[in-house]
């Protein structure tokens, strides 16, 4: 209270050349403001933001003992930082400064000069009234842990991990499956250049496996995340492999000898087999196998142990348990990828019911030389080569019944399939598309190439795939019923094989994961970036970044670019060594808090904790972003937002209202 | 054993005579509840009645007489305090007459206590200078 009585305010009204002075009578405003309560000095100057203008303020602070500064000039978005720094240089806490926006919100938008001057006075009075109640604040500095957690070992995660590890910082790369590689490891060729997917991916995977700065944790999942940017503690559960990693040489004898064959639903998309002890694919990194407990004969019946018998180094450990480890990291990159849209949901396309309807992933495995058919494109019977193939685009995408969005990759994927079918079988290929989307470098050229190869394109959404033949030429075939919107007629096209270019969708557990890491999901359950254009890999939670398809459908080049971008953002934070935390945070008056927990529920950042022993709320300043939603919600006003307290806002409002009322009285008197 | 009960009493503040229940928990007064069926207050109270219990455990409440000695207030016994007051009264009355003394009584006293105060003023000291705030 005492301090407020002693508030010594300096007011500085800026001409901004003629930008303000051309409309507002700045001299009048400055003279008038000199009579406001607590104002010690009031000046006007041509350009307050110039170094001379700033020096004026600094000199007055030092010579006249000013302890509050108001500058009436442009928008605080432009020069709040400038003047705060000037105050700081003169030894005045920057939070004892306030700005009145008389340019963007007055001089530039008001035609009448008298009215503009009145408004400038009201805004200045509001700022003076507010600044008296402002309090000095200190920004908190916290050191940054240089270790980084990357979640997801697909191409985006691999790229991010390598970039950071190469810069000399340590990375924990956590992958849920037994090997890194992600979806890319399952593909045969990549569009538009048709490089072999494994050929370009494997070197990177090996690099990750050997990197001295990468701790690779496969067959592991993140259990919990605690803390804030620079200081996260992450709990990771390392699932039991039943193989001692320090002894296993990756020779593969165990897989040979294991008598139990299991259909491989994950890597081979259900088309091939693996053993109960397995690595998902020969180039897996790390190359240690995993025992699938649910199918292992020993775990089911208590006898077998074939793998143990034949393992020369003796690496099999049937008694291995899940391990939990806690790591300290400063930043987190989520690259958790996507799930393939389940084509069964589009029941009229017959997947799961009609054997020769394939999903895109199944087809990828069919064409892969290391796949179940050694790269032969054949029907479900395993031997017949199709003579005609229909490729349906936009399966589950751009569809009100399923996903509204475009899955981005399916057009190019469909074209790639058309090319591969043509190349491997010489079959007639039909592509059914809604719109052909071949943006980006060399994509449309690829489309032209496929056109020239003789693939037939039908523009229209496929209504149905059926085996109910109506005509003799349809017997034993799959009939694609489609409205050809270019020809304007219904068509029935009989083919031997149908490939559904399924869309991408968010991981089934993406909401759960988002909650764990304190970020949010869109309605489609993709992770939300901080800004859709200007901050695509950051999230609303500082220190948590997203890369690749977990943010939305993406092809390989974009995923790689995002992985690298996220790594760059993380390295920029690590380079700062310590990070400044917002000073205008919320604070709880513990004596008055009644512990109703409303503030906790409304906080978008989970920055408010409940101290159960005291029955009070408590703000974690490092997590608080200063939105003040809690202060708006608290009924007894026991939580307040520093620099935007009730008293400050009300004083500002009263300052403006009082000036407006005063002018009203004056004009009424003049009229009388 | 948890002991929660209500004790019916009359508001001490003014002459209206509103009633309320003093809520007590484990022997301590914890609040006021208006008495709904009471003929005078009919379940209502004014702001004074609602806060009538507040002073009981207040840290600033005087719990023993204080005497100013050498410019400092110091705790003393009732015996000492009353002797001092009686002595001063007699002294002032002897020096300046009974009308140099006045009595202000309190709304926080009961009717009977206020009666005693005026009786004391008139019969013992011999003055009609009596007033109080309980005649609201």
């Amino acid at each position: 209270m005492n301090e407020k009585k002693q508030a010594r305010v300096g007011v500085y009204v800026c001409h901004c050349g003629s930008n303000i002075a051309g409309v507002v009578d700045v001299v009048d405003v400055a003279h008038w403001a000199a009579n406001l309560p607590n104002v010690v000095v009031s000046r006007e100057y041509k350009f307050m933001c110039s170094s001379l203008g700033q020096e004026l303020i600094q000199k007055d602070i030092q010579e006249m003992g000013l302890n509050r500064i108001v500058v009436a000039s442009c928008s605080p978005q432009l020069h709040e930082a400038t003047f705060r720094n000037a105050c700081d240089r003169a030894g005045l806490n920057p939070y004892l400064f306030e700005m009145a926006n008389i340019r963007e919100q007055d001089a530039w938008v008001t035609s009448d000069k008298t009215e503009a001057t009145k408004k400038a006075k009201a805004l200045t009075a509001a700022a003076v009234s507010r600044v008296i109640h402002q309090e000095p604040l200190e920004a908190l500095l916290v050191p940054i842990e240089s270790n980084v957690l990357v979640v997801g070992g697909g191409i985006a995660g691999i790229q991010a991990a390598l970039e950071i590890a190469d810069s000399g910082n340590h990375v924990y790369l956590v992958e849920r499956e037994p090997s890194i590689g992600g979806h890319m490891a399952q593909f045969d060729k990549t569009f538009p250049t048709l490089d072999c997917s494994a050929c370009i991916l494997t070197p990177k995977m090996v690099n990750v496996g050997n990197h001295k700065n990468i701790t690779l944790l496969t067959w592991s999942e993140v259990e919990a995340v605690d803390g804030y940017v620079g200081n996260f503690t992450v709990t990771i559960r390392k699932k039991a492999r039943y193989v001692d990693e320090s002894l296993c040489t990756g020779c593969g004898v165990c897989q040979e000898k294991c008598p139990k064959r299991v259909i491989d639903e994950v890597f081979e998309a259900g088309l091939g087999y693996r053993k109960a002890i397995y690595t998902p694919f020969p180039q897996a990194v790390p190359n240690y196998p995993v025992i699938d407990r649910e199918n292992c004969t020993y775990f089911l019946k208590g006898t077998c142990k074939a793998c143990e018998k034949f393992c020369e180094p003796g690496a099999i450990r049937f008694d291995q348990k899940d391990e939990t480890l806690a790591v300290k990291v400063g930043n987190i990159i989520l690259a958790t990828g996507y799930d393939l849209f389940d084509a069964r949901r589009v029941s009229n396309y017959g997947y799961g019911r009609l054997p020769n309807v394939f999903t895109s992933l199944e087809f990828e495995r069919l064409t892969n030389a290391a796949g179940p058919t050694s790269g032969n494109v054949v029907l479900r019977d395993g031997k017949t080569t199709p003579k005609s193939v229909g490729i349906i685009h936009c399966v589950g995408s751009r569809d009100k019944n399923f996903n509204n969005y475009c899955s981005v990759i399916c057009c190019m994927q469909g074209l790639k399939f058309a090319h591969l079918v043509h190349e491997r079988t010489g079959a007639t290929v039909y592509n059914f598309y809604i719109d052909m989307r071949t943006a980006y470098k060399a994509y449309d050229e690829f489309y032209q190439r496929v056109l020239e190869e003789g693939t037939l394109f039908v523009r229209g959404k496929v209504a149905e795939v059926t085996d109910a033949a109506r005509y003799s030429n349809e017997k034993g075939k799959l009939i694609i019923q489609v409205e050809d919107t270019l020809a304007g007629k219904q068509r029935r096209i009989p083919v031997d094989m149908v490939i559904l270019s399924s869309g991408l969708q968010a991981r089934a557990d993406s909401k759960e994961v988002a909650q764990k890491f304190g970020i949010s999901c869109s309605a489609d359950e993709w992770f939300i970036e901080k800004h859709p254009k200007l901050d695509p890999v950051a999230t609303m939670t500082d220190g948590v970044f997203i890369a690749g398809a977990c943010q939305g459908p993406k092809d390989i080049p974009s995923s790689v670019a995002q992985g690298a971008a996220a790594a760059a953002r993380v390295m920029s934070i690590i380079g700062q060594k310590e990070i400044q935390i917002e000073a205008a945070t919320a604070i709880v008056d513990e004596e008055n808090c009644v512990g109703c927990q409303q503030c906790m529920a409304v906080c978008p950042y989970q920055a408010i904790l409940y101290l159960a022993d005291k029955g009070k709320a408590h703000v974690n300043e490092a997590l608080c972003k200063g939105c003040g939603t809690c202060a708006g919600a608290c009924l007894p006003k026991s939580i307040s937002l520093k620099h935007f307290t009730d008293l400050q806002l009300v004083s500002e409002m009263v300052g403006a209202m009082q000036t407006m009322k005063d002018f009203e009285t004056i004009s009424a008197e003049v009229a009388a | 054993m948890i002991e929660y009960k209500n004790i019916l009493t009359t508001c001490p503040y003014c002459g209206t005579g509103c009633a309320f229940n003093l809520q007590t928990l484990d022997g301590r007064i914890v609040g006021v509840l208006p008495a709904k069926k009471h003929v005078i207050s009919e379940g209502g109270l004014c702001i004074k009645g609602w806060n009538a219990h507040d002073f009981v455990y207040h840290k600033d409440r005087l719990t023993r007489p204080l005497i100013r000695k050498d410019g400092q207030l110091a705790g003393s016994s009732w015996e000492e305090a009353l002797t001092l007051v009686a002595g001063k009264f007699s002294q002032i009355k002897a020096e300046s007459g009974p009308d140099s003394i006045g009595f202000l009584s309190s709304a926080k006293c009961t009717n009977e206590e206020n009666y005693i105060v005026q009786k004391f003023a008139r019969a013992v000291i011999g003055t009609n200078n009596v007033d109080h705030c309980a005649r609201l």
């Binding site: 035609s111 805004l123 972003k625 939105c627 939603t629 708006g632 | -």
Partner: protein, 156 residues
């Protein structure tokens, strides 16, 4: 005819920048609205709005980011829940609920901001001054007596 006095609470990230945008585009609008910057529209408690009315504001504007675009992700969801209830309360108390205006203006919507201010100022201008409507009969009586006295004094 007195000019309406209007207080606008604007969020820092969208609406305040939208207002700056209107300035940068030199769009003209009435000077009646005095803007108070808050970090998020979720910071605006109903008490702040009511206190502005109590202070004599003829209208109060609450502008924030569009739903889904909040800088603080869900701060403006609170606005969307509190303010409709407050509008209803004003209505039940006999106060024209149009005096409280809630809308969403993004940083890019300078034009919308100027239009919104124009519309709202005109709407409020059409209503009687707020403090006038709030005067009790006693106050009005006292004022009448006051004027009578003045008239007597001047005529005498």
């Amino acid at each position: 005819m007195t000019e309406p006095k209007i207080i606008g609470f604007l969020c820092n990230w969208c609406s305040y920048r939208g207002a700056d945008g209107a300035g940068m585009a030199r769009l003209k609008y009435p000077p009646n609205v005095k803007i108070i910057r808050v970090p998020c529209s979720g910071r605006i408690s109903p008490e702040l709005v009511l206190r502005s009315f109590r202070e004599g504001a003829d209208g109060v504007m609450v502008l924030g980011c569009h739903i889904g675009d909040c800088h603080y992700s869900t701060g403006n969801h609170r606005t969307a829940k509190r303010m409709p209830v407050l509008k209803k309360l004003l209505e039940y108390a006999g106060i024209d609920s149009e005096r409280l205006y809630v809308n969403w203006v993004s940083a890019a919507e300078g034009e919308k901001f100027a239009a919104v201010i124009k519309d709202f100022t005109e709407k409020i201008r059409a209503l009687p001054p707020f403090t006038e409507t709030m005067k009790s009969r006693k106050q009005k009586l006292a004022e009448m007596k006051q004027t009578e006295k003045e008239v007597e004094w001047t005529s005498a």
